[in-house]
């Protein structure tokens, strides 16, 4: 009861402060609001992105170019956040059980036809659908330059395809495709790929994540295409980590950290 009173007070105060501020906002949808067009006397960041990002990076999707290049440092840490969350969940939940027992259980539930006959339909459907999903995921990763999507979304979809397998059959079936050891490695490798692009730029004498400096490696005409290529590489790195961790989080949550059986 006390918490309800407290909640109401907190909500009332916060809400009234926020609502009080709303009237001062630039109107919704105003293209000339400071957020959209900057304040007079200083250059607007967002206008710069809209106008210059294609020139700088040759990537039509402005969001992708900002995400992976201009604010690539943020995105790297976003990936690190995912990685950290995965590690935190393993650290909290993972129960290191008896390995033989695990293996025995795995054998018991080896086949999806074993026991539960309802799973036949679901399982077969999933077997057909999953490759399509994975193909689409790869498309999303690769086509992030031109359409919505990118490493993160693609990675989630790819991870979701493993989750679907786990849901339709059982967790072991999915874990056979992406084992615990491998998803930790995959996650680490993903960030490693990301950071490697940055470090390479440093080695070539520029700042961290300055993809333009990678021009000699990609043998492109100008720094723009080098940036474009590097972004793809970086997105792939993100996709690796996200795939691995999304699946890993599910696997741990669904099996209470025992990594057997699942839901």
């Amino acid at each position: 009861m006390l918490s309800k009173v407290f909640a109401t007070i907190a909500v009332a105060i916060t809400g009234s402060i926020l609502l009080y501020g709303v009237s001062d906002f630039p109107a919704f949808g105003d293209p000339h609001s400071p957020a959209n067009a900057g304040v007079p006397g200083s250059e607007s960041v967002s206008l710069y992105f809209i106008e210059e990002s294609y020139k700088d990076t040759k990537v039509p999707n402005i969001v992708t170019s900002v995400l992976a290049d201009y604010r690539g440092y943020d995105t790297m840490f976003e990936t690190v956040v995912i990685f950290a969350a995965g590690m935190a969940i393993f650290a909290i939940l993972r129960v290191v059980g008896n390995k033989e027992e695990t293996a025995a259980k795995a054998a018991e539930e080896d086949s999806f036809t074993n026991g539960d006959h309802n799973r036949i339909i679901v399982g077969t459907t999933v077997r057909i659908v999953v490759p399509v999903i994975q193909l689409f995921a790869l498309y999303v990763v690769a086509h992030g330059h031109h359409s919505p999507g990118g490493g993160f979304q693609g990675g989630v979809i790819l991870g979701a395809s493993f989750i679907i397998i786990a849901l339709a059959e059982n967790l072991n079936a999915a874990l056979r495709r992406l084992s615990e050891l491998n998803y930790v490695r995959l996650a680490a490798i993903g960030i490693f790929i990301y950071a490697a692009f940055g470090i390479m730029a440093q080695v070539l004498g520029s700042n961290f994540l300055d993809y333009g400096a990678l021009q000699p490696i990609f043998m492109t005409d100008g720094p723009e295409m080098a940036r474009s290529h590097s972004m793809l590489g970086v997105e792939i790195g993100v996709a690796f980590t996200v795939t691995a961790i999304m699946f890993a989080i599910y696997a741990n949550l669904a099996s209470r950290g025992q990594l057997v059986k699942g839901l």
Partner: protein, 518 residues
């Protein structure tokens, strides 16, 4: 090479973490060397950066080379304000790494590498926060450090620890979200995320600076950071979360997390909004100082009521946060309060580390969790206790420890600003701390009194390693080394407070507010 240091500071722990992720599961013994190596790189990097900053001025680093116009890329900045803090973080990190040897995952070594990964990522987050000059980047790194600390706190938790960790997650996320909201309001009104840029825009457009949205942005950023630093009314999550977490985790989080949040607050105050705006046009200084006064008193009194050592220390942190927030908000003409707060960040990191390390050793070697368990500790572990005494004296504020000098500067600021209540609170809390710690000393000293007439002085301190010691127990040096190092640091930092404060002043004196009177 030197100009790449800002990136190296965060990359070294990152690569350490990744490396452990790749090979750590095979043999948990590789974790410690990797962690130590990567943190050493950061440590020397921090020193080199500080040296560079104090000779050549601030270092600006634009990730991806996106320098102009300001704000399109991500801007990292090392100046006199954070150079010292970087060294402090690196030092604490290295010391705690030693402390963590064989302390984590004693039950099953399978989780050891997760600990080190999270630990290194947490270091990365803290370094990143310190050098970030982009308001949103700061948020991302706050989240990196928060998520890792959730994991670290929850991973070894006891029964009630899990619940404390859950509360910590909720509070931490709300805090970070409030910060994000505040940044959103700033972006809405200024159209920029770069701190420097926002500062210029607010400075040159008074009508924006006076708008409600900017004030609300400030409120939310402030409240968000206050939640993160456990400032007075919002401190509820801290004591449980820290005291139930494993020693190595507590030893790292307690000295740094709150202090980093204080730094973020000061950074936001100085580099984003500007002190003039905060103190002159907003003029909430009195309100916040009063809150700080309550925080100091409440923290001290609550600490007095605790029976567990770690919990008591946690409440002391609440009081210490009050010192720093109050000091930063004193708004005295010479900014001595701010100086004191910044110096106290370093001092408090050292003394909290010392006390928590000692508390960790007590728990591990003597199973002493409560204050009453400390009976006779002076005899069982004279050296550990000696270091504990030094830490405690610093907490009380006895010269020549750093605790005295930080209070000295804080009080000077309080007197200059005419905030008598703050000065009074500082003195009262010193007295309470004195009572608190001397109660402990008394128990530790009087505990098991040897029989009269028998000279026990011949006892070597072999009793220091009690029967707890087994193969898996952490080696004695791994606890003692960082502990003594910290004790020495406390003294040195106190004796050489002049140079340190001079460095802080070089930064503060350039601020316009010092020249103009408030």
């Amino acid at each position: 090479m030197v100009d790449q240091i800002p990136a190296v500071l965060v990359l070294a722990p990152l690569f350490g973490a990744l490396l452990i992720g790749l090979i750590g599961h095979r043999d948990h013994r590789v974790c410690f060397p990797i962690a130590l190596a990567s943190l050493s790189v950061t440590f020397f990097g921090a020193i080199a950066a500080a040296q560079h900053v104090f000779t050549n001025g601030p270092m600006d680093y634009f990730v991806g080379g996106w320098e102009k116009p300001l704000g399109i890329g991500i801007h990292l900045r090392i100046d006199a304000l954070n150079a010292l803090l970087l060294i402090a973080i690196a030092t604490v990190a290295v010391l705690v790494t030693f402390f963590s040897i064989r302390r984590v995952g004693e039950k099953n070594t399978e989780k050891t590498h997760y600990f080190y990964i999270l630990f290194l990522l947490l270091c990365l987050g803290l370094f990143g926060i310190t050098i970030a000059a982009d308001a949103f980047n700061l948020f991302v790194l706050i989240e990196v450090s928060s998520l890792t600390s959730y994991g670290l706190i929850a991973m070894g938790s006891s029964r009630s620890g899990t619940y404390a960790a859950f509360n910590y997650v909720l509070m931490g996320t709300v805090g970070a979200s409030f910060y994000l909201l505040g940044v959103g309001y700033l972006y809405l009104t200024t159209g920029s995320l770069n701190m420097q840029d926002i500062h210029t825009i607010l400075g040159s457009n008074p009508e924006i600076a006076q708008s409600k949205a900017v004030t609300i942005a400030f409120i939310f950023i402030l409240v968000g950071i206050w939640i993160k630093m456990a400032f007075f009314p919002l401190y509820g999550w801290l004591p449980n979360a820290y005291s139930y977490s494993p020693s190595s985790t507590a030893c790292f989080l307690a000295p740094l997390m709150t202090k980093i949040s204080v730094y973020v607050m000061i950074r936001v105050m100085i580099s984003v909004f500007g002190l003039e705006w905060i103190f002159v046009s907003l003029g909430w200084s009195h309100l916040v100082v009063w809150l700080a006064v309550i925080a100091i008193l409440a923290g001290s009194v609550l600490a007095l009521a605790q029976r567990e050592i770690k919990k008591m220390l946690c409440y002391l942190i609440v009081a210490e946060v009050g010192y720093m927030v109050g000091g930063a908000w004193l708004a005295d003409e010479g900014l001595w309060g701010m100086t004191g707060a910044l110096y106290h960040i370093l001092a408090d990191a050292a003394m909290t580390l010392c006390l928590f390390l000692a508390a960790g050793i007590f728990v591990k070697r003597f199973r002493a969790r409560e204050i009453s368990d400390l009976e006779g500790m002076f005899r069982k572990a004279p050296w550990v206790m000696a270091a504990f005494v030094i830490g405690a004296l610093a907490m009380i504020g006895v010269p020549p420890t750093c605790g005295f000098f930080s209070k000295f500067y804080l009080i000077r600021g309080g007197l200059d600003a005419g905030h008598w209540e703050y000065v009074g609170a500082l003195l009262i809390s010193s007295l309470i701390n004195a009572v608190l710690f001397f109660r402990i000393f008394e128990i530790a000293f009087f505990g098991n009194k040897p029989a009269e007439g028998h000279d026990h002085s011949h006892d070597p301190h072999e009793t220091e390693e009690l029967p707890v010691a087994s193969n898996e127990a952490p080696p004695v040096w791994s606890g003692n080394l960082p502990l003594f190092a910290t004790a020495v640091i406390i003294i040195l930092l106190g004796i050489y407070n002049g140079p340190v404060v001079a460095l802080i002043r070089t930064f503060l004196e350039e601020l316009p507010i010092v020249a103009s009177s408030l």
